[in-house]
Symmetry: C2
């Protein structure tokens, strides 16, 4: 009997933006570290990649989600705007709701998995 | 004001299996067409790719999700097993629950998007 519940990846597909776990984690880590480069490092992502995801999000929303100050060699500081905090909060709320509300459907799928799929 | 709600991609991450929209659609189309190759074609997927996804699912679950009969040049028939139908039904139920239950959180994110993200 497979006992480990799955992790969930939830992706919102808009015409001009895909918003999923990667961007959500990046926002959360920028909020935590105050730095795009530090957030990127924590995700094993290049600074260039992290910056490009931030630019993509900032362009897609009516107001930027991340307020950035390009700095010197290490990259400048950055923080979540109110909109950035709102998007992250709503995304996390959706994730939590799936895990809570879909428990029985998730358990039904999990119960059908072979033990071999529970490798770790 | 951005009015188009997003499409949702929901992926269940188990240690031995990722189950998301691609595998769900493939199961649904196999059920509909009775053929792995026809289902793959509808998804613009090679037969080899479709077959490999089916094998991956069949190996990950305690019983196969797709009952296959390798055939001649065109590939044999295939149909969903009871387990396959169950997995698909539960996955679709989770998707529907997200869309229903998370409406206000989704709307809040959607309302923050710029008009430019509503390209089509």
């Amino acid at each position: 009997m497979h006992r480990t519940p799955p992790r969930l990846h939830l992706r919102l597909i808009y015409d001009g933006l895909n918003f999923g776990p990667g961007k959500a984690d990046l926002l959360a880590l920028i909020g935590e570290t105050g730095s795009i480069s530090a957030a990127g490092r924590r995700m094993k992502m290049s600074y260039k990649r992290a910056w490009s995801l931030v630019e993509e999000m900032n362009a897609a929303f009516r107001v930027p989600l991340v307020d950035t100050a390009r700095g010197g060699s290490g990259g400048g500081g950055a923080h979540l705007t109110e909109a950035g905090q709102q998007v992250l909060t709503h995304y996390r709320a959706i994730e939590a709701r799936v895990l809570r509300g879909a428990r029985s459907d998730l358990d039904a799928i999990t119960a059908l998995l072979s033990d071999m799929s529970d490798g770790k």
